[in-house]
Symmetry: C2
Subunit: 428 residues, 2 copies
Amino acid sequence: MIFRNIYYLDESFAVRRGCVAARGDTIEYVGDSVPGGDFGEVIDGAARLLLPGLINAHCHVPMTLLRGYGEGLPLDRWLNERVFPFEDRIGGEDAYWGALVGIAEMLAGGVTSFSDMYDHCDRIAEAVRISGIKANLARGIVAFGEDGLYGSSRHEESLRLLEKWHGAEGGRILVETALHSEYMTNERTVREMAEFCAARGLRAYTHLSETKKEHDECVERRGVTPARYFEDLGFFDIPVTVAHCTHVTGEDIAILEKHGVSVVHCPESNLKLGSGVAPVAQMLAGGVNVALGTDGASSNNNLNRFEEMHAAGMIHRGVARNPELTPAAQVVRMATQNGAAAQGRADTGVIKAGFKADFAVLNLGKPHLTPVHDVMSDIVFAAQAGDVEMTVVDGRIVYRDGEFLLFDAREAMEKAAKSAARIAGELE
Amino acid sequence: MIFRNIYYLDESFAVRRGCVAARGDTIEYVGDSVPGGDFGEVIDGAARLLLPGLINAHCHVPMTLLRGYGEGLPLDRWLNERVFPFEDRIGGEDAYWGALVGIAEMLAGGVTSFSDMYDHCDRIAEAVRISGIKANLARGIVAFGEDGLYGSSRHEESLRLLEKWHGAEGGRILVETALHSEYMTNERTVREMAEFCAARGLRAYTHLSETKKEHDECVERRGVTPARYFEDLGFFDIPVTVAHCTHVTGEDIAILEKHGVSVVHCPESNLKLGSGVAPVAQMLAGGVNVALGTDGASSNNNLNRFEEMHAAGMIHRGVARNPELTPAAQVVRMATQNGAAAQGRADTGVIKAGFKADFAVLNLGKPHLTPVHDVMSDIVFAAQAGDVEMTVVDGRIVYRDGEFLLFDAREAMEKAAKSAARIAGELE
């Protein structure tokens, strides 16, 4: 495909107008002229903006089934009375349809890749396969008492996932490992996970210091912060991505930077659950790779990357009373390039020849995007997910003008609604 | 018109499914059965939600021309180097097209009425007239030295506006008075404005304690907070609406409650400009009528009420680390019923027989609104402005499926873009 006469973000994230051409799954040309040769479909870009596909670096996609369930409860009642009993009743088919609806939402909002930690990963992988999106999938390991990694049922599940799905669909699907969190594992498991990943060359994922309570309890119990705990056990010697970091300290930030740990900032989930506001400006200033995630739809309550950019761009300015924090261009990088780094995908997140043709096409011809003084500001502070009119993954158009080209989103919505209603009914 | 088989919010803001019928500009029936008689167009509401039209209770709509202009600068440089020089060059026709684009954005997002304080009000009123939206318009008075209200050029402008537009279009257009703020007026003007409004039965509007600097400087200069200053001068003895209140004290909140002053919370503008987070939970707990506003598009950067609801619903939970604050239903009331009260419009903001037929129709049949466990949570935390597929003002469909029925939005966008580019070019 070839986009002509279109606004795009170049490899340094400057706004340009020109031509972007892809052959197969790869970008072949980016620049001012129009290359010769047949690129298939020609797309005229008047009043259109080509963005690198957005990357949702933290999600639990089957939790789409819980969107709005248990609204407004305090955290412990929300988890114990609503989320956990609901999750206990999610079967494989429920998870599949919930995942597919969440994927539809993401594709319609310009997301080309997401990272997920949940149960039923085999069914999530199947939804990823048929929908055309990219994903890094992981089964979150929990361990109690003296249990170790090897032989645990969740690790066995991870091994099966790795064998079946890691690198599948031309690398569109990757499998990672994940520890749920400091408070849901033990030292032995953390050490064994680090060894396992090092031996296999795998990435790992965990939740880190999401709430003040979990952070403080770790300090009380172990005498060190969760970041220091993971560092001491060698977990940060492998490539790791951590979600939240709402309550990391200055020393924690130095640890994350030192080990090249990617952080996924989930501002809307952190606000909505009352977890707090992560020190993102300090992490960015400290050189940490900060990506953006939505978390699950149960705590957000959508998988809308534009709202997430909007929140990430505003909240730190407001709380610190400093409008110079989180410049718009930095937020766009967090949502694209930094997300690719957090996924260990070196071939996406930037519009550059040789990179994968992963794009979101934004229609700028709307009242709320008029006039255009500053495209980067418009992306972060004015655009809606609904302004995305085309999403391209590996050079394939997967979403266009409200239609999903590879699967029946209507069926997925009906099936997911039915699953959600059945489970909610069982719990009444 | 008659909506059948539709979800709607009843007068107590409970979600119901049934029928809502309007004749002329007024709601005639709300309930479970289908009333007899010819109501004109029949709209089947399957997977649709009828909301009271949203009310944007604080805007400067011609500032749409500045959307994204001066992004990321500190507040004083943003104002002095960008906003003020740009505003100096906005002529009447520029303001008209800027206002019309802003109105188009609002109508497309389900806004049926807005409150505005700006220059060129006569041209804004004309844009309101042709577009079909409702508005409360005011020319903001400033006064320096010993100047009084009477005889000032801005007050003369107010008098002309009142004569020409107050109550025009069957009450669709109302004219208010406005003082810019405590720091841009003097005691004599505040007193005279209170007397003038009392004599004429008019509402007044002002900005209050938007930044910590202006709040603290008032205390330093006058020995009282801005709220106390206005109270002492009798300004709160007339019906008043105040914007922001980012830095009001507990005593200020008691003053606002005592005098029935409406507060317009503008969370996104307050965050983006680094002004801070208003104590909204305390104001609501104290019985203050709190509405929602976007402020101008130059500090937001859009006029999107769904994003504003989303921000208002999340930010107070996150900053106070309490997910029980600002329940979704309360946020929806802030965006509708409380906004109507802040406009002194007793006949809108609620779906109830006898009230004006001001509606936003939301399409729930989208992946990001599936499944539906809690409609109120979906409105506040999952919906986008782009989910609005129809906006009705005084019983008249003014926006439907991307089309504006009463004016040429394409022309407005072109003209506004041209105005904005011309002014930005002059300032380069």
